[in-house]
């Protein structure tokens, strides 16, 4: 196995006036070369914070501990100069909202060719040629025209394609796609996933897909990481988890997702997860999911379960996994 990114005991803590808020709690995770991993969980689970920390994009009041090594090189708490040797070249990120990620004052072409001029020292003409090719690659109908347009002239789907073109420009080893399809129509969602899959197939690019949309991940990802309240609660091969999820939260999450290919069940109701996810400033003593969990007992309230390996691929953090089916 060839390790691309190794995250060890990473925590992200925000110091606020009144208290400290821990958004990510001792997360360890390895991404192999050519691996496609989905990070799923609800808002506030810490999925974005984890990868923003890896790229040094955390907020100013964030305190990072642990380590994140990319091809053996430490990325946590290092200078921007060091970060910029991998950011924008070896690791690229695609954000949820392409309108805020693109500069509204600059033409698309300028924003794309700049990447190549800075990172690969190409001259303007070469950069233009490569950028237009990249736009064609992501199926933008008139790449030359798009090169000379401003972001506001494009639809949301087109803008997200531009973001993917930009992320692919430097042939990165790892692409972090942070909710890349959330703001888009279903048809466009499928196209975006298809483009990412294609990039993975062509260059063996590793992809981290951060999302709350569970059905969406199967088309792209082999492995699933489920996060809840800042921790990984379950990880394993996608099929393994789909067929045999061991954490009650994972099961509840899969069951609460409406299944379009099934008719309404006999009661006509969707399965729900009672209650709400804990708020970030809540002090959690035991398992964070315990207040919403049917299997929870005294031990769950007082002790926090550690992530334990079940077999080579699947791990789970739950005291009651043997009762799971």
């Amino acid at each position: 196995m060839n390790r691309l990114l190794e995250i060890n005991d990473l925590s992200v803590t925000f110091s606020m006036e009144q208290a400290e808020i821990q958004a990510v709690k001792d997360v360890s995770l390895t991404i192999e070369v050519g691996e496609t991993v989905a990070i799923v969980g609800e808002s506030g689970a810490g999925k974005s914070q984890l990868f923003h920390a890896v790229l040094g994009l955390q907020a100013k009041n964030a305190n990072l501990t642990g380590s994140a090594r990319f091809q053996g090189r430490e990325l946590l708490n290092v200078s921007n100069k060091v970060l910029n040797t991998v950011r924008g070249t070896a690791i690229n990120i695609i954000f949820q909202d392409p309108m805020t990620a693109l500069n509204p004052y600059l033409k698309i072409g300028k924003q794309l060719s700049e990447v190549l001029q800075v990172h690969e020292r190409l001259n303007q003409q070469e950069a233009r040629k490569r950028s237009i090719n990249a736009l064609a690659e992501v199926k933008i109908p008139k790449p030359e025209k798009c090169y000379n347009q401003y972001p506001h002239e494009l639809s949301g789907g087109m803008r997200q394609r531009v973001m993917i073109a930009m992320a692919l420009l430097t042939n990165p080893k790892l692409i972090i796609a942070d909710e890349p399809t959330t703001a888009l129509d279903v048809g466009v969602q499928t196209e975006i996933i298809t483009l990412l899959k294609k990039a993975h197939n062509q260059n063996n690019t590793s992809i981290v897909l951060i999302t709350h949309d569970v059905p969406l991940v199967a088309g792209l990802c082999d492995r699933l990481v489920v996060m809840y309240a800042g921790k990984i609660v379950e990880t394993g091969k996608l099929d393994e988890i789909h067929n045999h999820a061991l954490h009650p939260y994972t099961r509840a999450l899969i069951n609460a997702t409406p299944n379009y290919s099934l008719q309404i069940n006999s009661t006509g109701k969707l399965d729900t997860i009672a209650g709400n996810p804990p708020s970030p400033n809540e002090v959690i003593k035991g398992c964070a999911f315990a207040p919403r969990c049917e299997l929870a007992d005294k031990r769950c309230e007082n002790e926090s379960p550690e992530l334990e390996s079940i077999n080579k691929t699947q791990s789970v953090a739950c005291f009651h996994m043997s009762e799971s089916q």
Binding site: E42, G156, Q189, T190, K198, G219, L253, Y260, P277, S279
Partner: protein, 272 residues
């Protein structure tokens, strides 16, 4: 008798952009009609026409068989008592400077003026409980609530004047999966308990299948297809509906993988 009838409705912007074109349908009592389509298809414009926030360019809308555009001031007020709306971004739709008790009671002040203070308090109180919120939160402000709770508050505000029609514009798209399911189940209960009709606007076709009795498919302002939910999902007639249904991610991982792989393969072959 139909509750609402829309006939040949058209809305044109800037003289030539047709946001809605020849839209006709009826909504029955105690029915949930789904309106689906991609962004820009005219879903929200349709809702805005029905609540009279948007002027039509042509056609008519009938509420219980009378034309809503010929209503007098008093009839208009009466019409607005009978329909309410809930919105996509639940926090945005609540006034940040009012407590949730004030927010929920506000429609009563305008539409049911004359109720005593105690009666208003009682109604607010009951509505709060019916939405599964806890009473000690009544005097808090919207920012103290989660997205799902804010949507419950939005629904409480809509339901307090006992409307006959609830227009839901992407009511769960901004919510997490586990909370989505709670809100969908709540809306289903309201339909049964309050004999309510709904227009349910959404781009999420999986949710539409779970909650709607009939579905209307819009594309570029035109109705592509309208019919019973199961008929449309099992045997769609229009090509656009077929395309729309084919783009929903499948629940089974193996099937979804095959769907995307087929798309990647066809995209590669186009290039060679």
């Amino acid at each position: 008798m139909s509750l609402l009838e829309v006939k040949d409705l058209g809305v044109t912007f800037n003289g030539d952009v047709k946001a809605l074109d020849n839209v006709s349908f009826t909504l029955n009592k105690n029915e949930i009609l789904g309106v689906v389509g991609e962004s820009g298809s005219g879903k929200s414009t349709l809702a805005r026409c029905i609540i009279k926030l948007q002027n039509k360019s042509q056609g008519n809308i009938y509420w219980k068989e009378s034309d809503i555009h010929t209503f007098s001031k008093a009839e208009n007020k009466n019409y607005k008592k009978q329909l309410q709306m809930i919105f996509q971004d639940p926090l945005d739709a609540l006034n940040p400077r009012m407590t949730v008790a004030q927010i929920i009671a506000e429609p009563l002040r305008y539409l049911k003026a004359g109720l005593t203070k105690q009666a208003v308090a009682q109604l607010t109180h009951d509505m709060f409980l019916a939405m599964g919120l806890s009473l000690e939160q009544l005097n808090r402000y919207p920012h103290e609530f989660s997205g799902g709770q804010c949507q419950r508050i939005g629904i409480a505000r809509a339901m307090i004047i006992e409307p006959e029609l609830l227009i839901c514009d992407e009511p769960v798209s901004a919510l997490d999966v586990s909370i989505q399911a709670q809100i969908i189940n709540l809306l289903k209960d309201l339909k049964t308990e309050s004999n309510l009709s709904m227009i349910f606007i959404s781009h999420d076709l999986s949710i539409v299948r779970h909650i709607c009795d009939r579905v209307l498919v819009l594309y570029k302002g035109k109705i592509q297809e309208i019919g019973e939910t199961e008929t449309i999902y099992q045997s769609p007639k229009s090509d656009y509906t077929k395309q729309l249904l084919a783009s929903i991610p499948l629940h089974d991982p193996e099937e979804e993988r095959q769907r995307i792989n087929a798309l990647v393969a066809s995209s590669n072959s186009q290039e060679h």
